[in-house]
Subunit: 385 residues, 2 copies
Amino acid sequence: MPETLPANSVGLVTPQTLQFNEPLNLQGGKVLPSYELIYETYGQLNAQSSNAVLICHALSGHHHAAGYNSMDDKKPGWWDSCIGPGKPIDTNHFFVVCLNNLGGCNGSTGPVSINPETGKLYGPDFPIVTVKDWVQSQACLADKLGIKQWAAIIGGSLGGMQALQWSIDFPDRVRHAVIIASTSKLTAQNIAFNEVARKAITSDPHFYEGRFYEHNTIPKKGLMLARMVGHITYLSDASMGEKFGRETRNKAFGFNFDAEFEVEKYLNYQGERFSENFDANTYLLMTRALDYFDPAADFDGSLEQAFRKCLSKFLVISFSTDWRFSPERSEKIVDAMVEAGKDVSYAEIDAPHGHDAFLIPTPRYTELFTAYMEKVARECQGGSQ
Amino acid sequence: MPETLPANSVGLVTPQTLQFNEPLNLQGGKVLPSYELIYETYGQLNAQSSNAVLICHALSGHHHAAGYNSMDDKKPGWWDSCIGPGKPIDTNHFFVVCLNNLGGCNGSTGPVSINPETGKLYGPDFPIVTVKDWVQSQACLADKLGIKQWAAIIGGSLGGMQALQWSIDFPDRVRHAVIIASTSKLTAQNIAFNEVARKAITSDPHFYEGRFYEHNTIPKKGLMLARMVGHITYLSDASMGEKFGRETRNKAFGFNFDAEFEVEKYLNYQGERFSENFDANTYLLMTRALDYFDPAADFDGSLEQAFRKCLSKFLVISFSTDWRFSPERSEKIVDAMVEAGKDVSYAEIDAPHGHDAFLIPTPRYTELFTAYMEKVARECQGGSQ
């Protein structure tokens, strides 16, 4: 147990859970009669409730974005590099909220929760949820927390999609939307990779059509494969090359199918670890939410029209080597915002890490993000607008 | 049954098989006591045996590169667009040979052949074969066919690796090596994709450690997944986008996990078809041969040194949207050849199809390829050099 935590950490945090008994009408037509959301908060809400920042997580993320849940934790939350005193999302200024999304497997209602109608786990019966649904549920959470308007809503990847959807669905509840390494819709290639991941899970004989809990098993190999495919798309060819190259585990080739190259060993390890800690049904739901996301679809395919009624300001950030959601995709968002006459700042950050760059504190990224958030913080001091 | 075949087709062809009883010492240390190679030929060998061209196939290719094996065939051989009278590899001038590689599943000795030592199918006991081993076996085939020197050895992708290895291992037996959409070694990302494909196959419970034949089954789902992953890497993001975009199968989303998008349906179909026609153990072997390929490794990592003793001329072709083996990788080959003082022509072809572009007859590609091969043909008329 470490005796002290880093000085720029938000420190020890305890997740909280809120119960919602107002039914949630989902985009797919189903209704969730009640649900719970688990969340963490960092920093203090000011008297005007004008300094709240919502962090939206990506595919495999959750509510534990910063700090430590226990002195025994080996690692802090998943975005600790960006959240804390003196960090881009500075908890000396902001009251930061991060929740586990509906359908998740880290404490919010999802496939591993009890379905009140059957008394059993939801499993595959948990309804398909979309980015729009998440935003609805997050708005309910904001209501309960007394946050009428977020100073900023921030997210990377799938998290950025939520920030985007918020600015469209609740124009007067978002002052700034920060959209990092994201896209306004998946390409055919993105959907194809998701489909491979889903097929890997559903064709695992331990999947049992999603009812694997009842068989006391998990589709471990399918989930492992899904994560391996995903992981490749999160890294750039160059960063993988730098990390592993063609390094072999042993000096001479074994001429067999054991993991010969370091990259094989790494991928297997990542896949294995993930498969023991993530729910297969949640993985399916999250990838489907990605596939379906397309806010322009509600506006005859016009992204510009989608942004017309937005009242927030925008910061859009992309990374040069991100081939999952490439800079071109961010530029499309920015172009549509400009056409719609919105206030948008855009930066393509030169970083070697591929899509994962949004989680890695490179200097220009950190500086730019910090400068923007300082501006947001100054506005908060002026009170809610 | 079509009454006629296209005028520029090599027409009806019958595969032939040759038996080799001279043991083949494999790079991995094992010995193949005897083996068979199946091959097809198109065009006529001239009196000086100076007009022979060897076609080397890629991962899932085989000996049937051009023409039709039966009047009932719906499609011609896999490279019919490039082989035939008046085509880049013009059978009015060349005697073209294409074989199924050792370890293959289309007629040459491989996992689905009988192991003479056990009287059973080789299955997973078939030894790992490398590009170097293939080149050795192809040299034995050339001997039997009376071909001392190939006018050209041509291949795309993994086929290009064989052409490259030939020029290094048998300098005086290759006049021209044509290396299309290839690379001198895989990157970590390439290896990673291969490892996902292999893991998909080996973790299918119907794989039975490669002895699935004995259980009267095949690891269909694993092979399907492997092909789906591979297929994504063969196409460019743009070509997938053009082909499918975000087109949905039904007008409205179903909010379920059925194939909603055209690209999902397509991938599933491709994977399914492939899994019924390809051997899982062969797929493992072929991907491993790709991983291991690195001719510079025998020369202290210097590709330039590897090419020093080459006597052939080279044509290297890459495609602008190929992200599997990008133009940069071809440029590395070309740079090393130039440093080694070799005669090399290089072209990056602007084509939208990604890695698959080497199979698709776009105008500039066809013209350039044709022009080069016409030069090779003119040399043949001057006799063997």
